[in-house]
């Protein structure tokens, strides 16, 4: 059997940071990823933060991937504007939370995981190869167990594709639906109370139109968050983040509230898109082909269809280039056009041909590129108390770690911080040849010291202060009548410290049901919007793709064998999946039994708790292009 020093399961941001950090420490490590290529299975909102807490130290991406991270990594935009919207019907009240977003931050930038992870992989792999390690993708780990006591204390890893191998230490970075956690017995699957469900669509929009629409500069970005009636009465909210030439539009809702009041995830995104503030942000110009005259000869009909499709494609590509400085530059350098004006003239001429010769109309609408879904572990409720088992250390989503407090959403950076701590603990254990409990305890201790752990446990009164100051304009009675005493205490600068102290003694367990409620996420924002909001009128009706169209646009490598086994097709849980599966893989038969067709599964994990659930075999399943 082959032997390695360390193995990492899962090539998301956390796993790759662990691989790079182990290489930084001169250690041999292999990373095993189920997706055909790294970055094809991962989804985020997402804003990647780099933090500088006042107390304690965290490890950021640049601490692992080098100080040139920001200069070289393919992030989208540095977020410089952070706005929270309270919505009700066409009423919108916005609160500027840029200061809260900047709280103890070096930066926060929007990222698309497929692109970012590809880059992280190249950098991490290059370093890892120097020490006999690297990345093995397209391989699904199916078992992690200690070897027989007589042979030593190494771990044996079995996969669906390769011969088993052995290693001294393992980092489980296999995400929120960690099979490693379940098969080692380190923890149970997360319960619905501990999870949020996230759904997202990527919307296409040319670079300079984004800047104009969102009022930002070429290197800047904006984040808009939404609460109120867009949530369709669920705990959580929506978001619109600007990428370089796309937008990430999504919704994250607490699983408990979804179980109580099931709603099709794609319908939740639709509700967000239909809100006039959001639809106006997404508005773009879209060509609509006219029906081809059926009386024309068949060949002529085909020719026309072909010609129109080709012209629309040309128009779209030219337009993207025209509205992007680098795109225009490339076109000019290629010698096709001499100036930007010439490019514009060509664009206008294709457009006028399309309009006059082929009756194509140019209307206000938006264009979706990719639909995705994934669960988010709520660190406050589910971070692992003991994030290790045997020689396995758990990091990132697999350890249930992430700071999700109101508008503060941080999972990517928390996973990177965990990764460094786990890699350091393994390196130390390799030096001492002392694994198991000693390594685990050392890692646990390091995690305890992480400021993120503190944030997952206690309210940060300074952050709260900034948040409350931002909401100063909101009349006290709207909030006060619901939260009475707490709110008055928290709002008073002299009593806030005491109030936070008291709240922290109560602990999140008792506080959360009070604060994370339909009142907070739906009723209060609606009341604020109705009383104080401005009216926003929609200038168009977005043509929202059906769920079937969204699924049809996704890429899959189908596995004939299902990776999910429904054990109780009559359970109440599984009946709810008929509505809650983001790609409608479940349907109910007339006899009441629920059946699963796994082919469209996007591996979000929503149905995991009530099924025998595995990730698909290596290379199989969904392949995200954006993530």
């Amino acid at each position: 059997m082959e032997d390695f020093d360390a193995a990492i399961i899962g090539g998301g941001t956390a796993g790759l940071a662990a691989l790079k950090q182990l290489a930084n420490l001169g250690r041999q490590a292999v990373l095993i990823e189920a997706g055909k290529d790294t970055g094809t299975k991962n989804v985020s909102g997402g804003i990647l933060y780099s933090k500088k807490p006042r107390h304690g130290k965290v490890f950021n991406a640049e601490d692992v991937f080098g100080s040139s991270f920001l200069a070289e990594a393919p992030y989208e935009r540095k977020i410089t504007k952070y706005i929270l919207h309270a919505t009700s019907g066409n009423k919108d009240y916005s609160i500027d939370l840029t200061r809260a977003h900047e709280y103890q931050s070096n930066y926060g930038c929007s990222v698309l995981l497929n692109k970012l992870i590809s880059w992280l992989s190249v950098v991490a792999e290059e370093s890892a190869q120097k020490f006999g390690g690297g990345i093995v993708s397209g391989v699904h780990v199916r078992s992690v167990k200690p070897e027989a006591a007589a042979e030593g204390s190494r771990m044996i890893i079995e996969t669906d594709e390769l011969e088993p191998f052995r290693c001294k230490a393992v980092i489980a970075a296999d995400g929120v639906n960690s099979e490693t956690a379940v098969m080692t017995g380190a923890r149970e699957k997360f319960s619905q109370t501990e999870l949020y469900q996230g759904v997202k669509v990527i919307v296409k929009m040319p670079e300079q139109i984004i800047e104009e629409r969102f009022g930002i500069g070429p290197e800047e970005g904006a984040a808009h968050l939404f609460a109120g009636d867009v949530t369709l009465n669920h705990i959580g909210g929506g978001f619109v983040y600007t990428n370089r030439s796309t937008l990430s539009v999504g919704a994250v809702y607490h699983m408990d509230s979804l179980m109580e009041n099931p709603a099709q995830p794609s319908a939740l995104v639709d509700a967000l898109i239909r809100n006039p503030v959001v639809s106006e942000l997404l508005r773009d110009e879209v060509p609509v082909k006219s029906e081809v005259d059926k009386d024309l000869p068949k060949e002529e009909q085909l020719r026309t269809r072909f010609a129109v499709s080709k012209m629309v494609k040309n128009w779209t590509e030219l337009r993207d280039a025209y509205y992007s400085p680098t795109g225009s530059q490339k076109m000019i350098e290629s010698g096709k056009y001499k100036t930007r004006e010439e490019l514009k003239a060509r664009l206008d001429s294709i457009r006028s041909d399309l309009e006059s010769k082929y009756s194509t109309k140019f209307v206000s609408d938006y264009v979706e590129l990719e639909y995705s879904a994934k669960l988010v572990p709520d660190g406050k409720r589910c971070m692992m108390k003991k994030p290790y088992h045997d020689n396995v250390l758990f990091i990132g989503d697999a350890a249930g770690r992430g700071v999700f407090i109101g508008p503060r959403i941080e999972g990517l950076n928390v996973g990177i911080d965990d990764a460094v701590r786990a890699a350091n603990a393994i390196s130390r254990a390799l030096d001492r040849n002392d694994f198991g409990k000693s390594m685990g305890e050392h890692y646990s201790q390091s995690i305890e010291e992480s400021p993120f752990t503190h944030d997952m446990r206690e309210i940060d009164k300074d952050y709260l202060k900034i948040f409350l100051e931002a909401t100063r304009g909101v009349p006290k009675d709207i909030v006060g009548q619901r939260y009475g005493m707490i709110f008055r205490l928290m709002s008073s600068s002299t009593l806030r410290g005491l109030a936070v102290g008291l709240a922290n003694i109560l602990g999140y367990d008792r506080l959360l049901p009070l604060v994370e409620s339909v009142d907070t996420y739906v009723q209060v924002p609606m009341e604020i919007a109705e009383k104080m909001g401005r009216s926003v009128d929609a200038t168009y009706q977005p043509t929202i793709p059906s769920l079937a169209d969204r699924i049809a646009r996704l890429s899959y490598d189908d596995d004939r064998k299902s990776h999910i086994l429904v054990t109780d097709p009559q359970s109440e849980f599984i009946k709810k999946m008929v509505v809650l599966c983001p790609t409608a893989c479940y349907s109910q038969e007339p006899d009441g039994k629920v059946t699963l067709q796994h082919e469209a599964c996007v591996e979000c994990g929503t149905c995991s708790k009530g099924t025998e659930w595995h990730h698909p075999r290596g290379e199989k399943g969904v392949i995200y292009q954006y993530g």
Binding site: E2, Q129, V136, E163
Partner: protein, 292 residues
């Protein structure tokens, strides 16, 4: 132990994939307009050599006979198998070669490799542009190597200098048979088109990544690895190559007449629900109403 040495023989061929082929008015191939690529069977041969490179650290030479632009096939081949050495056998005197004359050039080329005498030579099953699958066996014969055709899998014992290969044998009117054969090295392997390398060990997967990266880097700079040989540099007897070296006599080329379509196709425009319904009903009828 010295590393194993492989030779791979490849061919630049017209790209027959959809949209890339161009025809003359009389229906013959328009070679000037059709893009050329590394032939698909040659690519299979490259991946078989790559398998051995990853598993046994073999050194690889890829050779081709063709016009100067055939070096693009070598570049593509290098991208697949991370070749250490590239040969282009190119001379006007090679023109008009049949399979035997081609085999003479390839055999001499293989023997010229600076990495050393090849332990295994790989070739594709055949070329896609009108070739009979004879070049491989004839080159093997000229080299004096054992010839194993239709290979779908192989493994080596470098110490004992043995190769064990699986061959796919298709028999008319009978199901396919997989034959397992063993042969001493050196050997000549012609790969079955279904050959696909698979690495079962973590260390092999890591090596695969490393070599693939090296291959991409080398291929970017492929001219550094390339030697072009003419008749003199190769040192072949001009009487044994090109037209003079080709005993095959092409008496006449017959165009295969286009067969009459025996089925009548109806083009249906699927842009409205009614015509789609029509299709569904037709299928229903054909299936004799067995399905709902």
């Amino acid at each position: 132990m010295d590393p194993l040495k492989f030779g791979v023989l490849v061919k630049l061929e017209p790209d027959f994939s959809e949209g890339n082929v161009s025809y003359n008015a009389d229906g013959t191939l328009n070679r000037a307009e059709t893009k050329s690529i590394l032939g698909p069977h040659s690519a299979v041969a490259c991946s078989a050599a790559f398998y051995g490179k990853v598993k046994f650290g073999a050194k690889v030479m890829v050779g081709t006979m063709g016009p100067p632009i055939a070096d693009s096939a070598l570049q593509q081949a290098q991208m697949i198998c991370d070749a250490d050495e590239l040969h282009l056998y190119s001379d006007r005197l090679f023109a008009g070669a049949d399979t035997l004359a081609t085999a003479e050039v390839l055999k001499t080329g293989v023997e010229k490799a600076t990495i050393g005498k090849a332990d295994i030579v790989f070739s594709g099953h055949r070329a896609s542009d009108g070739e009979t699958g004879q070049t491989g066996p004839q080159t093997a014969w000229k080299l004096g190597y054992s010839f194993l055709g239709n290979v779908i899998d192989y493994d080596l014992d470098p110490e004992k200098r043995l190769i064990r290969a699986k061959r796919l044998i298709s028999l008319q009117g009978f199901h396919d048979v997989i034959e397992e054969v063993e042969s001493p090295l050196p050997a000549f392997l012609a790969l079955d088109p279904s050959y696909k390398p698979f690495f079962h060990k973590v260390s092999e997967r890591l090596a695969e990544q490393k070599y693939l990266k090296e291959a991409r880097e080398r291929a970017r700079d492929y001219k550094k690895y390339l030697t072009v040989f003419n008749v003199q540099q190769l040192g072949v007897d001009p009487k044994k190559v090109g037209l003079p070296g080709s005993p095959t006599i092409v008496y006449k080329v017959e165009k295969i007449p286009k067969a009459m379509a025996s089925r009548k196709a109806q083009v249906i425009d699927g842009s409205d629900a009614a015509s789609i319904r029509g299709v569904a009903e037709k299928i229903y009828q054909v299936l004799g109403g067995d399905v709902k």
